[in-house]
Amino acid sequence: MKFFEDDSQNLRARLAAVQIIALVLLAVLGGRLYFLQIVRGSYYAERAENQRIRLLPIPAPRGVIMDRYGRVIVDSRPIYNVILSREDVQGKDLSALIEPLSRGLKIDADILRERFEQMRTMPAFESVRIKENATPADIAWVEAHKLEFPELRVEQQPQRQYPPNGLLAHVVGYVGEISPKQLEDPKYKEKGYKPGDIIGQEGVEAIYDEYLRGRDGYRRVVVDSRGHIRAVLEEVPPQPGQDMVLTIDLDLQRKAEEQLAQMPSKRGVIIAMDPNSGEILAMASYPTFDPNLFSQRITTREGRAEYAALLRDPQHPLYNRAIRGRYPPGSTWKIPMAVAGLEQGAITVEHSRLLCGGGIQIGNKFTRCMGNHGTPDLRTAIMKSCDGYFYRLGLKMGIEGIMRMVDEFEINKRTGVDLPHELRSWTPSPEFKARFNPRDPQWKEIDTVYASFGQVYEFVTPLALLRAIAAIGVGGKLYTPHLLKEFKPVREMGPFPARPAKTFDHPEPKIVPIRPEHHKLVVDGMWAVVNDAGTAARIRMAGFDIAGKTGTAQVVSLGKDVGKNKDHSWFVSYAPAYKPEVAVLALIENVGFGASYAAPAVRAVYDVYYEKTRGEPPPQQVALKR
């Protein structure tokens, strides 16, 4: 008898029930499988794809910066960084790494600790730079310790390389990592910068960043769950940035910097410019700094200390004095005054004589001239730099006339040079006095006297002054000073379109109306400063007529002008006098009389220019008078 036949237990039914439950369970699994694979399959496939595919950027090299003759000034060279792959250290105790790494790679333990701390907030597949600019010894050390520290590797990256000794530092500027503040700035945001990007932070590196920077390439890779790269699916090489040709002539630039370095105060500015176009041939500001600090060392402890020291330095080496220094122009102010005096009819070519009188008495105050020049004509007044003459010219023009002159020569505007952070000069006006001297806000006659000799109410940037003087040299064309000669084109590469060549967008020069006879008279005076019995006669170059004007900017009142409070020395010029090719300005801080330092410094620059353009050594050299 089969035990199944016992109806009291319903065994058949019960066994069937168990079997049905079993099959139902399997059917549930099948249904779920259908949902995951068929209904939602493509969604999950995409999600799975996203977690395994990564785009790793390949940094593009920046464009090279060259002088006008194609000589390389700034370059990018490949450097090696020691990298710590994070995926290999997950769960590892990082603090145990600090000691051997800081010893083996000679890195400060605090900096390592700081970087490990930063790592916590970064995505897992990104690696951390342990040491930039690894030496061959460092690379060898990493190779030799592969077994001990498999998480270390060496990676190549382009790094900006600036010339030594701070050559042209204020013009080229420097690059640096984009700051958190810049990342917030919509100006940068819309260009799609990301943290860690290296961008131009100063000088032409900053102004022309868009052209200089390349387009980063990338590698599309498959990573596993620990971030290891398992395969490279696609590699798009980067497109390098556009090479930049500056208007700078390195020979003139070197000479200018050398001159400044020789000056007793080692502080000052020399600018050389083509007055016919505004191309800047040299722009030296001293003291200078090493831009490599920002591109290479800023992440190290020493680099940060160096930067802090630069910021604290009372001599402000980071300042480009050519566009950020505001100095009283001293007697150089007399040149635009002379032009405006003639144009406004205060004097005429025939009747240009005015009294010197050894000075002028206004109310109970006597403002003296440095000498007694009788009743000089304009040419003599410029040649001898007669203050008394210009006090009276200023009074004839009135403050309105002086202000009109300032407007004409745009001395109260930025020059528009292609450099960041240019400052505007301060020029005389009743409003300026009210702000400058609130206890005595009323503009008086004596103030007009002061405004006419460049000592009290005007503080001009060297570049704005040179621009005005150069414009007078070429008969009244105010060009925009600039540094960009050309960006070289870059051909199309993969997804990146070709980038066309670019030159400076020359705005039309502003025309300052100067009648030819007025022009001639003022230039005669400036010619006489150097080539006759003038204040800079000692820098005369036979066969190369320099037209110029010395200036001595008082820093403190007379009698106290010694040591570090000595006057600033100016010389502003162009040459040849009647067919200008080049304009040169020098401002030497706190060295005294304009003719003694600034003029010889300018002459040294002309010597180089002469030799280059005339193909022969310059006539008799000038020794610096000490």
């Binding site: 035990f3 199944f4 016992d6 009291s8 237990q9 319903n10 065994l11 058949r12 019960r14 066994l15 029930a17 168990v18 079997q19 079993a22 099959l23 369970l25 399997l26 549930v28 699994l29 099948g30 779920r32 499988l33 259908y34 995951l36 694979q37 068929i38 939602r40 399959g41 493509s42 969604y43 999950y44 496939a45 999600r47 799975a48 977690q51 395994r52 498959v222 990573v223 596993d224 769950s225 620990r226 398992r230 395969a231």
Partner: protein, 373 residues
């Protein structure tokens, strides 16, 4: 005489069941290879299959009635093994669980897998004596005791997943020994009602740990769960399964979820995800259908068993297997929280395959004696 006897035995041997099981193991070995081609798990699995087939034949040709008769002895041996594994030094601690016994020269084995067979035999031994009418309370209590002993020892390892797979054995044996229907219904209702209650109480009292809560949350809503932490396994498993779509990713297994190490434990607990990824809906459905055929064949044999003990052995075995399939695949498909239970016949692991084939051996032994009274 003996040869005729042997011939008849061979003819009655359940070739279908044995072949189906072997095919599933071979299919699983292929998936193990797909998951970890560089490791030697798939070779070990093939060796395990060889040992398992040999063992199955030996068991099949043994008279199961004798074995059931001596079930208490086997049960005692099983319990002994479960005690031995708890002794530090003999039992190997892996991932905080002491559930392996190292055997010098062979490797290691998992007593909780093997103890299932003696437990089934013991239950069959005891409940085969019951012939008519509903179960008495005393009988139910004895059944619970038979189960409680190994379960308690396994919980000491601790291996909750393995312990869980013991419960359906008793449930089915009690059910087929005519436990009263109202008790079954009452147990079901009570069970269903108590799950949410137990969960809330458990969370409030802190009995259910935070990570266990997270594992449950990820089932309910994998999109918003902590996918990098406790939800990681489930989320990655779902992605792996979904990625297979209709036909799978065969031919480009090089960058599969398991090869890129996104999928954890691909050759053991998550072998079904690997199958779903490489062979797609087609392949994984085929596997589920193979399981359905395999289980139906077991129930078919149970129905033809010559006595109650044989029927109980096969039915308990089948329900144990289906329960384990459901727990494992349910976990892989994100229906159930992560519980470490191998997929029968598929997951890498000689212990699990060998124990399953021993069970199949008993099922075949029962079938071969269906006409012998």
């Amino acid at each position: 005489m003996a040869t005729i006897f042997e011939k008849r035995r061979l003819r009655d041997f359940d070739w279908f069941l044995a072949s189906l099981a072997t095919l599933i193991v071979l299919f699983g070995t292929w998936q193990i290879y797909n998951a970890q081609p560089t490791a030697n798990f798939w070779q070990k699995q093939l060796i395990g299959l060889g040992i398992s087939l040999a063992t199955m034949f030996v068991v099949a040709f043994t008279d199961y009635r004798k074995v059931v008769q001596y079930a208490p002895v086997f049960y005692a041996i099983g319990i002994l093994l479960l005690i031995i594994v708890l002794i530090p030094g003999i039992g190997l601690k892996i991932n905080g669980q002491r559930c392996w016994i190292g055997v010098p020269g062979i490797g290691q084995f998992q007593p909780s897998e093997f103890a299932k067979i003696p437990t089934i035999l013991m239950l069959a031994h005891y409940f085969s004596k019951h012939q008519r009418g509903a179960l008495r309370w005393k009988e139910i209590m004895v059944g619970i005791a038979i189960l409680a002993l190994p379960v308690a020892l396994i919980l000491l390892e601790p291996d909750a997943g393995s312990a869980l797979t013991y419960f359906p054995l008793l449930a089915v044996v009690l059910f087929l020994s005519s436990i009263r229907m109202w008790l079954v219904i009452a147990a079901l209702v009570l069970g269903l009602a108590s799950v949410p209650t137990a969960y809330t109480v458990g969370v409030k009292t802190g009995f259910i740990k935070n990570y266990q809560q997270e594992r449950i949350k990820v089932i309910l809503d994998p999109e918003s769960a902590d996918r990098r932490g406790y939800g990681y396994h489930t989320w990655q498993s779902i992605l792996t399964v979904g990625r297979g779509r209709l036909f799978g990713t065969l031919g480009e297994t090089e960058y599969s979820q398991s090869r890129l190490k996104f999928l954890p434990e691909p050759h053991t607990d998550f072998i079904f995800a690997v199958t779903a990824e490489t062979t797609g809906f087609v392949g994984s459905m085929a596997l589920l259908i193979a399981y359905a055929l395999f289980l139906s064949r077991l129930f078919f044999n149970a129905r033809r068993a010559p006595d109650r003990a044989g029927m109980l052995v096969i039915a308990a075995l089948a329900s144990g297997i289906v329960f384990q399939i459901f727990i494992n695949v349910g976990m892989v498909l994100g229906l159930l929280p992560v519980i470490g239970v191998p997929l029968p016949l598929m997951s890498a692991g000689v212990s699990s395959v060998l124990a399953t084939f021993m069970g199949i051996g008993f099922a075949i032994s029962v079938r071969m004696r269906r006409f012998v009274n």
